[in-house]
Symmetry: C2
Subunit: 586 residues, 2 copies
Amino acid sequence: MLHLGTVMSFLRCTRSALGIWRIQSRVRIETSSALPQACSVCALVRWKNTAANRARGVDYRFSNARWRHVVVGLLAGTSAVLAYGLYRQQVQRAEPKGIPESASLTTVSALDNKVQTSYPIYTRQDVAKHKTMADGIWVTYKSSVYDITKFVHLHPGGNKIMLAAGGAIEPFWAMYAVHNQEHVFKMLEEFKIGELSPEDQKQVTSDVTDPYGNDPLRHPVLKVNSLKPFNAEPPLEILSENYLTPSEIFFKRNHLPVPEVDPKTFRLEIAGEGLKSIQLTLHDIKTKFPKHTVTATLQCAGNRRAEMNAVRQVKGLNWGMAAIGNATWRGVKLCDVLKYARLPEDTDAKHVQFEGLDKDLSGSHYGASISIRKALAKDGDVLLAYEMNGEELSRDHGFPLRVIVPGVVGARNVKWLSKIIVSKEESKSHWQVNDYKGFSPSVDWDTVDFSSAPAIQVLPIQSAITAPCNDDYLSSDDDEVTVKGYAWSGGGREVIRVDVSLDGGETWQVAELTGEKQDEGRAWAWKLWQLTVPLPKGQENLEIICKAVDNDYNVQPDTVAPIWNLRGVLNNSWNRVKVTIKPNSD
Amino acid sequence: MLHLGTVMSFLRCTRSALGIWRIQSRVRIETSSALPQACSVCALVRWKNTAANRARGVDYRFSNARWRHVVVGLLAGTSAVLAYGLYRQQVQRAEPKGIPESASLTTVSALDNKVQTSYPIYTRQDVAKHKTMADGIWVTYKSSVYDITKFVHLHPGGNKIMLAAGGAIEPFWAMYAVHNQEHVFKMLEEFKIGELSPEDQKQVTSDVTDPYGNDPLRHPVLKVNSLKPFNAEPPLEILSENYLTPSEIFFKRNHLPVPEVDPKTFRLEIAGEGLKSIQLTLHDIKTKFPKHTVTATLQCAGNRRAEMNAVRQVKGLNWGMAAIGNATWRGVKLCDVLKYARLPEDTDAKHVQFEGLDKDLSGSHYGASISIRKALAKDGDVLLAYEMNGEELSRDHGFPLRVIVPGVVGARNVKWLSKIIVSKEESKSHWQVNDYKGFSPSVDWDTVDFSSAPAIQVLPIQSAITAPCNDDYLSSDDDEVTVKGYAWSGGGREVIRVDVSLDGGETWQVAELTGEKQDEGRAWAWKLWQLTVPLPKGQENLEIICKAVDNDYNVQPDTVAPIWNLRGVLNNSWNRVKVTIKPNSD
């Protein structure tokens, strides 16, 4: 019952923060040593109040009154979120054997019920003979045998599917839990050609262990988009409360299981085109190079994908508007490390590749690359970071070392960094070459040519409304409404204006911006904004819209459909929120 | 009859280019010594065929067949353009006294007819006493006296209006010919308070000479938006015929009369924060520094203002879609010159100001500034250019020296450069401080605060359709339609895709791009694009749209209204062209 204890403890701690209860919190949510023996909300409150943070002069606007509001909201209105987190944690605990069942319990049962004696019986040896396109590609799932030859080239994950050829798919689906969806099971069923022999059925999944078994515990307030790998974002109400997003609620976007790294034996390898191949310990990194602190916003390319899904279904996690966060990162400059490794100034290398310690069953690591121009730019501010918001990196955010590439899409900010390779070529990683690219709305999975588009690096201008939320009710008793949100642009471009409309885009008003002063071309951090205006009278419904402008006068597009793309990335259309005004209480 | 000779010669020369007539052209259109004794179209053809240009490997797609099409089009369909140019030239010749009458002949007559004996009579001395806000601001125009005190703070040109206080406005309106509009005369009439005494009337404008009298002759094919100062753009049909825009048809955006510069006595002064103040001759510039060639697109901030005007009237020249052009520029790097002037590497200056030799009646020069970051960036490629498309700069494009700031709005590419000032401050010029800035659509002339927005520097992603043109007729006999245009983004961002829709934005197809390979972050030049698709059958009208994407995945906004601003700058909304399909000829 650890999961229930976690949530109960969370509830107690939030009350404790309000001074209602004074019960010592008993469960450690975050495995990071930086936050022992405390629930995360308490940690947030404590963190907010540290002298170091106060000294930075940031306007957190995170008063006790606000906290009371948020926490009461959590206790009352957003219990669904907690329940959801609870359910997810139950699921996590219920999967000791690693069979992914979270989103597909009924489907799997349906599969079980579908055993037909009319199917031919095959042995594991029979299946093992079919692992080439010439012989056909067969796989097993539980007791069934499938011929997926025709599906191979349609597989969104590309060639990875061949890892399962001639064998069981369970280990791979345990790794890539995105498969745990009803339509995936239905699709698989279409390819069924037989049953495993009764003997072979007995040991189908007995050798599968859960590669996610060592993932850290997470804050239950997070909205989980995928459990394995873990992908989650904070509730919108909380996101814009802090100029610096607390680590615990900062969106987590993992592609693979979180590796467990021993900082004592950790080594960073630096190699590649015309430089001395070297290895650095964590101690080397922390002592050999000047320390730098950068406040930078990270955003997932899939942030606001849900709005794109509403236009037409895309492939990818259904992110809301909170797959973005802002933090201070402390570490050393990549350019200093490359100089130390004697990278020649006139190198003809074009890219710097990064490899993480997170890996799949085939031993393939997460990887990505950035241009050497960004890596070496004096004001590029690319960090090898070991601290986030003044504390050691948490495991979910890349402990002990990650790359921070300010102004660039999250996917290139490689976590659990273990290798840096200077090269004439981009990373060959799936996520660099066959993912995280934008396409015309006309391109579908039959016509897509991933080589025709550049890998996403710098992100375009973005903004979203964090309050009020879509489908919220406002009271006509109120004279005013306060609209709040965030705005950010990639490439170090500064947000100079946010326009807000309360009438679906007919008229606009300029919001007030909050943020730190940043140097020209180095505006890596977001701005929070708000606008308090009279609540329009005599209207039942409002469509509230925001749109931002950066200092290159880039603007957001009006609508989603024309920037729709099959992977659902890069949604930076105007953010629209519909609210209802409840009639006067008189 | 020089103007008629010019046009006739132009017509003969175009035929000559087709091999129909072989008549020696007799009139020199361009005063630049680079193009003696030839009409500009001939020069264009010659220019296009130079070995140097061919050797650059650019796909000009400017075949004889295309030329034939364009020239025949000019001779037949666009005679209106020629007639317009002819009319403008007649007007220019007819103004030896510098009284601006081009757009306002009828209005001026109306003013003349309005003499009323009921107005009080004032002398010039009476008027001269009213040149402060305390005493009231009076001015004269022809025989009338006006009290414009209440208008002073509304004047779009700011304090410049005070130059005329207590005197005649003719010299200033001759300088700023933007005043030659009916609504301006009407507005003035509202402030009339009296008549000049008959004696003073006799000499009202006798001392006014035309400051534009020395402007060079221009190619009659240009569409003139303002004659004094000269502002003109080429017809769209021609614009996208060349990857490199010929100098003669490259849009001309002058703020003041074109100065006449003697290259022998020309000096460039370099001064400012912590550097040695020096003067360089043209010979110094051409011999002391390495030469660099950059292909860069320049765009006026007001390009496509006409589309903004169609939403709501703005203040500014009514530019179409051709206030943009692409050329090769040759010169020396600004950073090399600043280094030569011993600018310290750790300078705390933030800006580099430029001053042109063009000046107004008060002796105030055109000026602008860019950030020192752009000026010194290794890959910023800021040039002091003395050549355009392989020839000496023409007078209209800044002879003998101009600044080229690749990726940055035209207004900072100061022509007739005479002074470079390194400073902690931006240029104090009107065009830096009180113009060329973007605002929310909600901001009007009563509420605008120019200090609240940054000066436009890098421009956002842009594209437009050059063929077919708005209101064109297509024939339903044709199976296909070819849509053509240009696309460009500021800041060295590369255009990676242009989407074209033939159904008002419902569906999109990807166009084929043409352009030179450019280095990362230094994509200063535009791409031309085209798409040939089946002509939709059974439809009478098509709305053709284009929208471009750059490599930061910036996109264009869908519509004009939400980016409307009082100065009509920065229109980069989707470009929309409506065409009619003529019924089948069967």
